[in-house]
């Protein structure tokens, strides 16, 4: 359970999912108070029009459902599958458009009472992501070069919400403190499919120095495969943990590290991953090997502070490396005031 203080710091989107996931029943939710009718004629007429449209669409929906039942009965039709998907799409479209203009639905959506069981709310959340959040996310991902560094640019389909105990990644790329991220986060992927699909969830740090090769390497800090997710179960839990969570530990002497959480769909179902080496992890070849398709991304940044030393000592139980630029020999001055020899006599 989050403290009151913590809730205030969470963004509205995160707040909505919080409510959605846990506290819908426990917190006293305000009920919708419809504006008084018979005061403003325009409002009354608007309500009438909306109600008419709703009625019409529901009558159409009934017809579509009858047609659906008929198509389901007909077994020997070669186009049955196509017809079914088209009719189902039409039915969902009708349901969404019938409810979309309802003042109460709009009010509930705006006040964070989102019910992902309802097609209309799913539609609204998806539209909000596509219209508003996606461009911001992509901007951050491209500006901070997460995309070419870890994997190619892709089209995220839904929002990834990362919540650490009392802190959440509201916007991709914010700075967190290493002390705040010691325990594993609650990751939720706000997807829109009713059926359960399997995903791979991983956390990558692409900024670990590789001293041998004099370059950077990727380190996989967390790897879960076969995580079942659906629109009513967006929180990452269960599945097979290949690499248990290692707290982010940006090394001393390095610049900021981008801790990236990737959500990858497993289109061909369950996958078997033998043990993987977390150091020198290659995300691109991993994705190719298991034929995964990236669906969501989020990341935060961290720099070194004293907590990292504690993580090294207590959790990793390693000697903490300290990085820095190699000392540069002065070209011109050897001892005090004396110029070094340009040519050495061998």
């Amino acid at each position: 359970m989050l403290s009151r203080n913590a809730i205030h710091r969470v963004s509205s989107a995160a707040r909505s999912t919080l409510k959605l996931n846990r506290t819908l029943a426990t917190e006293a939710t305000p009920s919708f108070a419809a504006p008084k009718t018979n005061v403003n004629p325009a409002y009354d007429e608007a309500l009438k029009l909306i109600a008419q449209d709703k009625e019409y669409r529901y009558s159409m929906l009934k017809k579509v459902e009858k047609e659906l039942a008929k198509v389901k009965k007909a077994n020997n039709s070669p186009t049955q599958k196509q017809q079914l998907t088209r009719l189902q799409q039409l039915a969902i479209d009708l349901q969404v458009k019938a409810e979309l203009n309802d003042p109460e639905v709009q009010w509930r959506f705006r006040n964070g009472m989102r019910d992902m069981n309802r097609p209309v709310h799913r539609y609204m959340v998806e539209r909000e992501f596509q219209k508003d959040r996606k461009s911001k996310l992509l901007e951050r991902v491209l500006q901070m070069r997460v995309c070419p560094d870890i994997l190619e640019q892709f089209d995220p389909t839904a929002q990834v919400i990362v919540e650490y105990d009392g802190n959440s990644v509201q916007e991709a790329g914010i700075f967190l403190q290493p002390g705040e991220t010691v325990k594993p986060p609650t990751v939720s992927f706000v997807n829109f499919h009713e059926e359960t699909k399997l995903y791979t969830v991983m956390m990558i740090d692409p900024d670990v120095p590789d001293q041998e090769r004099q370059t950077y390497q990727q380190q996989c800090l967390w790897l879960n495969t076969n995580v079942p997710l659906s629109t009513t179960q967006p929180v990452v839990s269960g599945g097979d943990t290949i690499l248990p969570y290692v707290p982010p530990h940006p090394q001393k002497g390095t610049k900021y590290h981008r801790y990236t959480i990737l959500i990858l769909e497993q289109p061909s179902g369950k996958i078997e991953v033998p043990s993987v080496e977390d150091k020198r992890f290659d995300t691109r070849s991993f994705i190719q090997q298991y034929q995964l398709s990236p669906r969501g991304v989020s990341f935060f940044r961290e720099v070194w502070n004293e907590d990292v030393s504690r993580i090294y000592a207590d959790i990793l139980k390693e000697r903490e490396p300290v990085f820095g630029k190699p000392p540069k020999a002065s070209k011109y001055l050897e001892d005090v005031g004396r110029k070094s020899k340009k040519y050495l006599l061998l």
């Binding site: 004629p41 325009a42 007429e45 608007a46 029009l49």
Partner: protein, 282 residues
């Protein structure tokens, strides 16, 4: 090649049909695969006035007008009106009525002003004389339900239908057989003039038909006039801008201007089904 020669051919055809218009019986009707080809005319009078706004539209316009006024820059009345003038007094009356309407959501701004203006006009003789005259949205023909008048149903599109001297399928759009060597649009123009007289200002929209209708002749008709078992009617679209239909009382004995909704009262269901899609709803 065809494209270049056709206009010339067409010109010739038009010329021929015009010269033969005086001697109608000179030519045989065109028959193709046992169907006589006919050209029908959908003569329409477009809506003369805007349609009535729905209750929601009206309420929405009033609402947005008030919202607009709330955010508008106030009029510097001293700049526009001379102190103590009639114009200033009137404007002040209007303004007071508007302020009253702003407080009452059920009263619209334009209606409030209209009321004061009526009062002002009653009081003033000069304004009565200079009053701008407008026609009524509901015409006399509507009240009398005169289906021959073109002043009726001003919000709707009217179509001309004519009555042939027979019992069955008497009412239909004006139509006539296309003659050998004649084109559809020529035949349409000729037929309209023959059946409905010259006193109409008509514009034919194009040369392409907007719809068609095929039917079989009754058997006794076929026995009497062999050569064709049915007819194919291609409808040509036209607009009327002035004038009135004068039936020739030979081929056509009566006429009416009707809307799409009224058409089923006159024609058979098959005929209506064949033509309904090419007519405007409003």
């Amino acid at each position: 090649m065809i494209a270049r020669t056709l206009p010339r051919m067409l010109g010739k055809g038009a010329h021929l049909s015009r010269s033969f218009a005086t001697s109608i019986q000179a030519r045989a009707p065109l028959v193709s695969s046992n169907y006589r080809i006919a050209s029908g005319i959908v003569l329409s009078r477009t809506p003369q006035i805007t349609r009535d706004s729905t209750p929601f539209e009206k309420a929405y316009f009033d609402y947005s007008e008030k919202l607009e006024r709330q955010s508008a820059i106030p009029l510097p009345a001293d700049f526009y009106f001379k102190k103590g003038s009639l114009a200033e007094r009137r404007w002040k009356e209007d303004e007071a009525a508007r302020m009253k309407a702003m407080a009452d959501p059920k009263l619209s701004l334009s209606e409030a002003v209209k009321e004061t203006q009526v009062k002002q006009e009653d009081a003033d003789v000069t304004t009565q004389m200079n009053k701008f005259e407008t026609g009524s949205r509901l015409s006399e023909a509507d009240k009398k339900n005169d289906i021959k008048s073109l002043n009726r149903a001003l919000q709707r599109t009217l179509y001309l239908i004519v009555k042939k001297p027979r019992d069955q399928h008497a009412w239909q759009f004006p139509q006539g057989a296309v003659e050998e060597g004649e084109y559809l649009h020529d035949a349409a123009e000729r037929e309209l003039e023959e059946e409905c007289g010259k006193n109409m200002d008509v514009w034919f929209v194009g040369r392409q038909p907007v719809g068609h209708y095929a039917y079989k002749f009754p058997e006794d008709h076929v026995a009497k006039y062999p050569g064709a078992t049915g007819a194919k009617v291609f409808f040509m679209k036209a607009h009327v801008f002035a004038g009135q239909c004068n039936p020739d009382n030979k081929e056509v004995v009566d006429f009416a201007w009707v809307t799409k909704d009224e058409l089923p009262n006159y024609v058979s269901p098959e005929y209506f089904n064949a033509v309904k899609d090419m007519l405007s709803d409003l």
